[in-house]
Symmetry: C2
Subunit: 200 residues, 2 copies
């Protein structure tokens, strides 16, 4: 779920330049937040010439959008631990780390999404993709016979993860790793009890 994955580097100077620039965008975002992100800062940190960065990415928003777009091409997938509870625990710990680490690139990207519509759009696409990929943890549980096939995978993943985002990002209150675990376990138990299936 994190935005921390970088585009892979399948050779080629163009791909290498992009990887270097996006790594610098992440580092600058983490250090200074979106307000402190500048094309010059990214150029200096990446070692890529500023005219190249200006020509290719044009604006600070353009850099952020490309960082999120790179996330669409990465190989992230939820861990396969062999049980729905285990998979949701792993997922929630990943979300918890991404939102509580300091500095948090995820928090910086969320803040940016309330400042520029391009960032909002790119973040929406990024998350839609991440939630689509995450649904596999429920489909695997169906195959194992752990949960009923009528269960809505998106609802299960949302029930586990949404409280972390809501409490840490919007309510701006602390949330322990133990609480993150509790939400994951409750979501797994609910799904296994058939809560959220179309028969319930």
């Amino acid at each position: 779920m994190t935005t921390g994955e970088r585009a892979s580097r399948p050779g080629g100077r163009t791909a290498r330049v992009r990887a270097d620039v996006l790594a610098a965008v992440e580092a600058e975002l983490a250090e200074h937040g979106y307000d402190g992100l500048t094309i010059d800062g990214v150029a200096a940190r990446s070692g890529v010439h500023r005219t190249t960065v200006y020509r290719r990415w044009k604006t600070v928003a353009g850099l952020l959008v490309d960082l999120l777009r790179a996330g669409l091409d990465d190989s992230w997938e939820p861990a396969d631990t062999g049980s729905l509870e285990g998979d949701l625990l792993k997922l929630n710990r990943e979300v918890h780390t991404a939102l509580t680490e300091r500095p948090s690139i995820t928090q910086a990207v969320i803040a940016a999404s309330f400042r520029t519509p391009e960032a909002a759009e790119a973040l929406t696409a990024f998350w839609a993709d991440r939630y689509r990929r995450s649904a596999v943890v429920v489909r695997r549980a169906v195959v194992r016979g752990e949960v009923d096939p009528s269960i809505d995978p998106h609802q299960v993943v949302m029930t586990a993860t949404a409280p972390l985002y809501h409490q840490l990002v919007l309510l701006r209150q602390p949330l322990s790793r133990a609480s993150a675990d509790r939400y994951a376990r409750a979501a797994a138990l609910s799904a296994q009890s058939g809560i959220g299936s179309s028969h319930a």
Copy 2:
């Protein structure tokens, strides 16, 4: 849960001026968003002299903070329908309306909280108070014998409401009223099944 309640008007010119100004802040926020909120616009709409507004509220952030502070003194409480499921359904419908109505003051206030730290702090205090008040729906369910006393009231209310905020505010995806109902029902059923209690 909405930010739409206005400070009561217990007589007095000062209280009346405040109520008029805060009503204008809401209307301007709803129409133009936080970026379009100006002291002059609020003064014009409220009919209160602009030097009075400048003297008392100083900045646009000051106006927003006072709007949220007024919410702390209002009489909002969750409806008492006689069942946990009914209470959570009502709560989720209220949140759903607040986040999907156009214009949405709640969405405007959330966006503002990512622009000024004062707004973030005031929104945090507002929501902490709303979630504290909402916990009564679970305590009533305990008294009725619907749920185990070891259940965590905050976890139950978060399980019901967090997916609405996450999907409509951060993921920026549509969420139907039927889905809002489903999350409320699932949270009630989970609590009644003892999921989220310290024994579970």
